[in-house]
Amino acid sequence: MSRRMSPHRRPLRRNLGISAGLATVALALAACSGGGSGSAGARPKDALRLAISSEMPTLDPQTVYQYEGNQVLTAVYEGLLSYSSDSTDEIVPMLAKSYKLSDDGLTYTFALRDDVTFAGGRAMTSADVKASFERLAAAGVESQMAYMVAGVAKYQTPDEHTFVVRLKAPSSSFLSLVASPFGPKVIDSTVLEENKADNALEYLKTHTAGTGPYQLGSMTAGQEYDLTRRDDYWGEEPSFATVTVKVISDVATQLLQLEGGDLDIVTGQPVATLQQFAKDGDYQVQQFPTLQKANLHVKTSGTLSDMKLREALRDSIDRKTLVSQVWGDYAKVSGQMYPAGMVADGTATDTWQTATGNLATLAQGKTITLGYIAGRTADQQASEALQAQWTDAGATVELVAVQGNDIYGLSGSLDTAPDLLFETAYPDSAHPDTWARLFWYSDLTKGNGALNYLAGGTPAADRYIDRGAAATDETVAEKAYGAAGDAIHNDISYITLADIDDAFIMSKDLTGAGHWLPLSVTLDLRTLKRS
């Protein structure tokens, strides 16, 4: 494995009075070293260094279901369609040049590009696409994204560059899932065939076999992924010859490495840090809209079974102050039940006139519990701010820290669940079904409402959601999802608070950053350049 040479070093700034012996040893080590340390000089022209805060369990694009893994995977793998990298909800062609939908809403015919090759040089055909889609649903793969193709009846490959998907029933969200950053990615079918004994799970943990502009050069478990630019990429050649993605869990350490010149981009930083770096001439803070939304799940049984109390609680929330306190300029006050831009303006609205009203009277003698996910600093901060607002309005509110994955068990033990749960959530695509079905669906028996932690929602809203999903007419679908949002708003089993932006601190010489609306903490490496 090659050892990277150290970039420019900063001269000693001050005499720190450290003992001469220690200094000699340390300087000798530094002089003999190859790794970069604390350099704030010129950054390498054709190399990009970024950080992610957690290690990827595997490089398999069909089993990684987390935001940060996509920083590597979106550079290596591609799907048939994609969301536009200008952070809008526009769906654009990728490996498919175009698509057609049959009149009955059941058959999608994708015309594939004929100039796509996998890393290694083999040309992509419809057989690769079919094998990749089928693998997503394979029982042995246990993909968490398998639901995206659960409604598929069959696949056909009439020729090398045509791929046909026949659905069991019309699905207005199917195309958005194909374009989703978490959606089906195309993998070299020869790799899948050669490793079919375990569905290539083991191989794809540490190897890549995609069509993207980069391929994996090397990786060190738990430390970093080194990507190298492909010479035979079908699209425009990206600017950076190499991209290093480092695993650094501590945000303060990330920041130090940015300042030291060992990183070019960091994200996930606290608002105060963003504000500080926005004023620093050596850096820029770039902000992008996302589908991340801060919400309150409301338990409509127990203490909050009284609709008037739920309404008084909601009305006493001053969202403008809350957003300012917690997210500063990096979020907007929510105006709709769905993430911003998911449904038409003016539909599924979630607005109220802030007023403490009779909350004190209605909440008298009651203790309301507000849960938040432990370890999420912003969530805790927002919960504390809400607690303060409600306390000022005369209610008694206690905070409860819920361990990360324990939230999945709340709907099964509602008696002990908190009355409210603060959560920052995101859908898999910009289609309203990927939000409403997961968070609001009240009938939990059919696998819907997986994230309806406090069992909210109403049967009427369920029917609207189903109607929207089955609609072949876009207007009908929009109307149905709008009505579902209104039903949940009126039931007050869900309160929306803020639409949260993504923010990246970058060295000032970087330009052309692209960002996908449904994918936080990830940038499009195809367009990024150093000026």
Partner: protein
């Protein structure tokens, strides 16, 4: 060696007793938590069928005792279950991350022992130097590892550029997974120095607290021994302070310090969680913190087991060392 054999037997028995209790407690905690590991494994959008399959695979539909007995059986064959967050066998994960933690803890332990020895011996002496060392000890003991790490990073990484901010550097391919050792085995001095540069800051942070603790115990013990009649006699015969410490003091005062060292090194494994996170050290501590955040109970249980074994083994090692150093203990056995 009768005493040694007896001691070995006691430690083995204690290990055999401690580990099942540990695993049972962790299993019971898993049952009591409201989390659903099956949901974590199958995903937030999993169908009821996929959820049921995941539940069966994890053995969550079995009664506690059945599940626990099955777990112990699998444990004996080296199967620690599957991590729901990495989706890999926990044994494989531990094999991947343990060498990094072992390397860090071993280097930190070495630093702590040397530092503790210096602090203890110099601090035991009356006068300005001894007083200064005592002040430094108190200051060191009160420094939070997080704060110390940040200060070291600011000074030695950002400002001076002497050491990297994190990671282990370029790791050599086997055989131990410990970069320092592997680079030596591969005859790669450049790789060795690179590994040293990467391990220095995290090891210093991890070692400081234990070094101070060991030093304080050694100092107290040494001062007591140095006031004993046989030492005063030795000094009256003209032996210098340092020579007396070396010949008589350390040997007789080392017992409590060794006990403290064993305890502190055991604690280092726990302390590595914070240090590994701050220095992006890809070890078991960071794996554990990720597992806790994800309620990954199989991974947590696996790590707890490893730490339990390490604790028992370390204590065994310390007891054995004490037997070797102090003949009075051998006689009492």
């Amino acid at each position: 060696m009768t005493g040694f054999a007896r001691q070995f037997g006691i430690r083995l028995a204690s290990m055999a007793g401690v580990l099942p209790v540990l695993t049972f407690v962790v299993e019971e905690i898993q049952r009591q938590l409201p989390s659903d590991p099956a949901r974590v494994l199958a995903g937030r959008t999993a169908s009821p069928q996929a959820l049921a399959a995941a539940r069966e695979r994890l053995g969550l539909d079995e009664p506690l005792i059945t599940h626990y007995v099955g777990y112990l059986g699998r444990l004996l064959s080296g199967d620690l279950g599957t991590s729901v967050s990495t989706r890999r066998p926990v044994a494989d994960d531990i094999a991947t991350y343990l060498p990094a933690t072992l390397e860090l803890v071993l280097v930190a332990a070495l630093l702590a022992l040397v530092g503790g020895l210096l602090l203890g011996v110099v601090g035991a002496r009356d006068g300005l130097t001894g007083g200064l060392v005592r002040v430094v000890s108190v200051a060191g003991a009160s420094a939070a590892s997080f704060l110390l790490a940040i200060v070291l990073l600011l000074v030695f990484y950002r400002d001076l550029g002497w050491f990297p901010a994190g990671g282990r550097g370029d790791t050599a391919d086997g055989p131990t997974g410990m970069t320092l050792l592997d680079s030596l085995l591969h005859g790669d001095p450049g790789g060795f120095l690179d590994a040293v540069r990467h391990v220095v800051l995290p090891a210093v942070v991890l070692a400081l607290g234990p070094a101070v603790a060991i030093g304080r115990v050694l100092r107290a013990s040494l001062r007591e021994v140095m006031a004993a009649d046989f030492v005063r006699s030795a000094r009256a015969k003209g032996a210098g302070w340092w020579l007396t410490v070396w010949r008589h003091g350390l040997r007789n005062a080392a017992g409590p310090a060794l006990s403290m060292a064993g305890l502190q090194v055991s604690i280092m494994f726990g302390g590595s969680v914070v240090v590994e996170s701050l220095f992006s050290w890809p070890g078991l501590g960071r794996y554990l913190s990720t597992a806790i955040a994800a309620s990954d109970l199989a991974a947590i249980t696996g790590v707890v087991l490893v730490l339990g074994v390490a604790y028992v083994l370390l204590n065994f090692l310390v007891d054995t060392l004490q037997l070797l150093i102090d003949p009075r203990l051998r006689e009492s056995e």
